[in-house]
Assembly symmetry: C2
Homo-oligomer: 195 residues x 2
């Protein structure tokens, strides 16, 4: 499998609207290590950009400050590889900002790809999305939910639904950081056989 | 590929001796989310246990307190799935404690499997370790380093060296949480083709 071509795959981390574990629709807080880990995984596996999406200005200011520290502040000199990863990160108020930014960059409106810990009939196998990412067609924006995942209207809005990551039992409670790493590795390098 | 059988694969997260990015041998701090993320990934992919290894009593007390909160304290009721993942975690002063514990559990001294972000001649391909984990023979204890990775004496002590995770460029700075997730997924489910 050839490596992922540039500017074919992007990712957005949504903090609203998402479910909490009781099924309510909530806004989650920014988690510092989500930004670091997903940026590092995105850089390693060749994604084109990573949007941290949060509707609350104060939370966006926190995320901006974290990104600034590693891109421009003291962190940039202390850790050049972190600086490089943080170069992929943008902070936006809603998903539409991220979509517009991808469209401006690539010249095409991206298809939205939903991710979920729950399987869904008709979900795309990893191998299928891997192939589509290497064929002509629009870029993809992978949507990761925080909390207990994406809401139904958002899932309905997504053009493609990626199959869930399966463990060896029915226990399936990966962190979003862990799930992102596995998803990027599978889509970028083809290092899986979707057994 | 059949799922990983029980009690075949264990993991230890080392905080000493490890390198810092300047190549010095140091002791790193406990990171709360390392415990959470690696426990959740280990539970999802069927590992038998996860040792947080730290030589400093105060750091072990912190790790014990975190684990206790989610296993016995208020966290256990608030989040039963987290409780289940934290059930895999043990805190130990050195690697030998972890080895002894695996030997007591399985009746066999585990082979130590080194992991590294740098490739090494003769390293085991993922597919090969996957096969060995499903064949008769001792269980494996996967060694993850914090900081900038394991020291040479420790690498020399390991009986097996797993190939590194490759990205699409030479940038390879995954977090240990992300690397653990990808390694467990590949070894447990066979969802890669090691291309």
């Amino acid at each position: 499998m050839e490596p992922l071509p540039p500017d074919r795959l992007f990712v957005a981390l949504l903090h609203h609207p998402v479910h909490n574990k009781d099924g309510q629709i909530v806004t989650t807080s920014i988690t510092n290590l989500d930004i670091h880990d997903i940026a590092r995984s995105a850089r390693t596996f060749g994604l084109g950009g990573f949007w941290v999406v949060h509707p609350v200005p104060g939370m966006r200011a926190l995320a901006d400050r974290i990104v600034w520290h590693w891109r421009e502040g003291l962190g940039a000199r202390a850790n050049p590889s972190r600086r490089e990863a943080m170069g992929l990160v943008a902070v936006s108020a809603d998903l539409d900002h991220a979509i517009t930014a991808v469209a401006q960059r690539t010249g095409e409106v991206p298809l939205l790809v939903a991710t979920s810990a729950r399987s869904r009939a008709g979900a795309l196998p990893f191998a299928e999305l891997r192939t589509r990412l290497r064929a002509p067609g629009p870029p993809r924006l992978l949507i990761l939910g925080t909390g207990s995942g994406l809401t139904d209207p958002l899932l309905t809005r997504c053009e493609e639904h990626l199959e869930s990551i399966r463990g060896v039992t029915d226990y399936n409670h990966l962190s979003v950081r862990a799930a992102a790493a596995i998803l990027f590795a599978r889509l970028a390098c083809g290092q899986d056989d979707d057994q």
